[in-house]
């Protein structure tokens, strides 16, 4: 464990250094724009993974908190001339994250009383509830008219946004990495295996789940806030969009749920591929079909995701025997990063 942790730390450090250096090495706008969206989805996936991957609670409503973050940012700054104070909206991110995390506690407490499918559907309902609030609370959100966020004048426009996202992404990865080797992680894995049994051996399941949910959506909200500032307009249907939900969930399953680097790998593959395909071959109406086909192929061929599948192969080669295949997202030990 210790040896692996040290190696993981080193690997994580190298990746982070490379990511920090990136916008200083590459300064083309379009490259940074692409990098922005890759990091955004990597961060969303990582935050989702903390709850969904570790505890097995499939939330389909995280994007509601992405929207809360986006609206908080937009409403806070919509009437303020940004001008030279362009960094202010990025500096308030931690406050937004903490505020949304705290707000989410009662919601989480209610939602987490349900399990499995019911939880997935309750959180999906949450998505629609928040979206409808965004449409209907016109005094606050301007409803369907949307809220405009002033654009800053950065010398290299994308770089501060990229770095802000990178900070959140690093935080999410650090949290994920830490939880994997702290007692909370152990509790979450136990809950994923058998929640009733876990309660029977003294696990504070509710506390563990609610805490994890709050941390997870707090990070999601911060990403939403950066997104709002970057895009410049917040509309209910875009800020709370089921497609963003899917976009943050897909990398987790592609890369490997419950692993530290799986969701990141998934996002680094999927987002550029998707954006490039849409840009390059977009005129074709077969886009949706192709997307669905890729999706089905992933689930049917790599049901556990890339990293766990590779780990399986390595393990099999090493000890020359076949390891039994496990259900999705059940790799705790073999993907010690």
């Amino acid at each position: 464990m210790n040896r692996l942790s040290a190696a993981g730390l080193a690997r994580g450090g190298v990746v982070m250094c490379a990511l920090v250096a990136f916008p200083f090495v590459f300064s083309q706008h379009w490259v940074l724009n692409m990098a922005f969206f890759v990091l955004m989805y990597a961060g969303l996936a990582q935050a989702w993974n903390l709850l969904g991957g570790y505890s097995g609670y499939i939330s389909l409503g995280h994007v509601a908190f992405f929207g809360l973050g986006a609206y908080s940012e937009a409403i806070l700054f919509s009437h303020i001339g940004i001008g030279s104070r362009g960094f202010l909206p990025l500096l308030v991110l931690p406050a937004i994250g903490i505020a949304v995390a705290l707000t989410s506690v009662p919601v989480a407490w209610v939602a987490l009383r349900t399990r499995h499918m019911t939880f997935a559907i309750v959180t999906l309902t949450l998505l629609f509830v928040v979206q409808q609030l965004a449409f209907n609370l016109r005094g606050l959100t301007h409803g369907s008219q949307g809220v405009s966020v002033p654009s800053p004048t950065f010398s290299l426009y994308e770089r501060p946004f990229y770095l802000a996202l990178l900070a959140i992404f690093a935080l999410a990865t650090l949290v994920t990495w830490h939880v994997r080797r702290d007692r909370l992680g152990l509790m979450l894995f136990a809950i994923r295996d058998d929640e009733d049994k876990a309660r029977g051996v003294g696990v504070r399941a509710t506390e563990a789940k609610v805490f994890t949910f709050a941390v997870s959506v707090g990070m999601t909200a911060m990403i939403g806030a950066v997104w709002a500032y970057y895009i410049g307009y917040v509309y209910p249907q875009f800020a709370i969009d089921p497609l963003v939900m899917i976009g943050s969930l897909l990398p987790v399953f592609l890369g490997g749920a419950g692993t530290v680097w799986g969701p990141v790998l998934g996002a680094f593959i999927l987002v550029p591929a998707q954006q490039w395909l849409a840009y390059r071959y977009g005129a074709s109406e077969l886009y949706l079909i192709a997307y669905a086909a890729v999706f089905l192929a992933i689930i049917l061929l790599l049901p556990r995701g890339i990293l766990p599948s590779i780990a399986d192969m390595v393990a099999r080669r090493r000890d020359g025997r076949t390891t039994p295949r496990l259900p999705v997202g059940s790799a705790r030990e073999e993907i010690a990063s």
Binding site: H178, R181, D182, R183, L184, G185, L186, M187, F189, A190, R192, D193, D194, D196, K197, A198, R199, G200, V201, G202, V203, R204, A205, E207, A208, F211, P324, L326, S330, A331, R332, E333
Partner: protein, 243 residues
């Protein structure tokens, strides 16, 4: 001997069926009490209510002199009341050591500490060695045999330093050697001061091991006494023969 566990007029209905019907009994500290009865007599339902998995429709459970207000298995466990399941329930994707570490009693602020702190690891290794699972402690629980999983489940609850352990058919479905092992563990732990409440169908084991024996039928206590007395009770024979 004082009563460690007191069950008063416990009742549970599922739809129209009354599974447990005004059941009352006590478990004395330091005993190995057996809870027997024909299939469907409500033994497991009693277990589920006593350990906080089910909310009783009526009646009360007191443990160690305190009445349980809100059914919550985790709180009961931390108070020293733990159980095993008829079908062994272990964390299949965790290693044996981790299985035991989960069951260690830790305050909430330990959530952000190490997953298996050195003290827990040492204790887990000791317990696993006692249960002759020491060689397997790095393996995942799903790699164990059925009997080994029963042992693991039993071993895990010891991490909580329980006062009372409820065993739900500890020997069902395991081989004769394993039955003996299990019996030996119960006796050893009993000597160390742990009280047991055992649901068991294997009557020879009950007669050797337990005293007193409580007989349930149709969700209520039918008889209670020394094993030999209960065995001779005509009511009990009727219940088992189904007249």
């Amino acid at each position: 001997m004082s009563a460690l566990l007191e069950v008063r007029a416990l009742t549970k209905r599922f739809g129209g069926v009354t599974a447990v019907d005004g059941c009352t009994f006590e478990v004395s500290a330091g005993s190995i009490t057996a809870l027997i009865g024909p299939n469907g007599s409500g033994k497991t339902t009693v277990f589920n209510m006593v350990t906080g998995y089910l909310r009783p429709d009526a009646g009360a459970v007191s443990f160690d002199g305190r009445r349980a207000s809100r059914p919550d298995p985790a709180r009961f466990y931390r108070a020293g009341l733990s159980r095993t399941f008829q079908q062994p329930r272990v964390f299949r994707e965790l290693t044996l050591v981790e299985n035991l570490a989960v069951a260690a009693n830790r305050p909430w602020w330990a959530l952000l500490g190490r997953d298996v702190p050195p003290t827990d690891r040492r204790r887990a290794e000791e317990v696993l060695a006692d249960f002759r699972l020491g060689d397997l402690m790095g393996n995942k629980a799903r790699e164990l045999s059925f009997g080994q999983q029963k042992l693991l489940e039993f071993a895990a609850v010891l991490m909580g330093r329980p006062k009372l352990v409820l065993l739900d058919e500890p020997t069902a479905g395991v081989n004769p050697v394993m039955v003996e092992t299990m019996e030996q563990h119960i006796r050893d732990l009993h000597r160390q001061g742990i009280t047991f409440l055992v649901v068991e169908h294997e009557m020879n084991l009950v007669m050797r091991l337990c005293d007193p024996v409580i007989v349930l039928d149709h969700g209520a206590k039918l008889a209670e006494g020394r094993p030999a007395e209960v065995q001779r009770d005509p009511l009990v024979l009727d219940a088992y023969l189904g007249t």
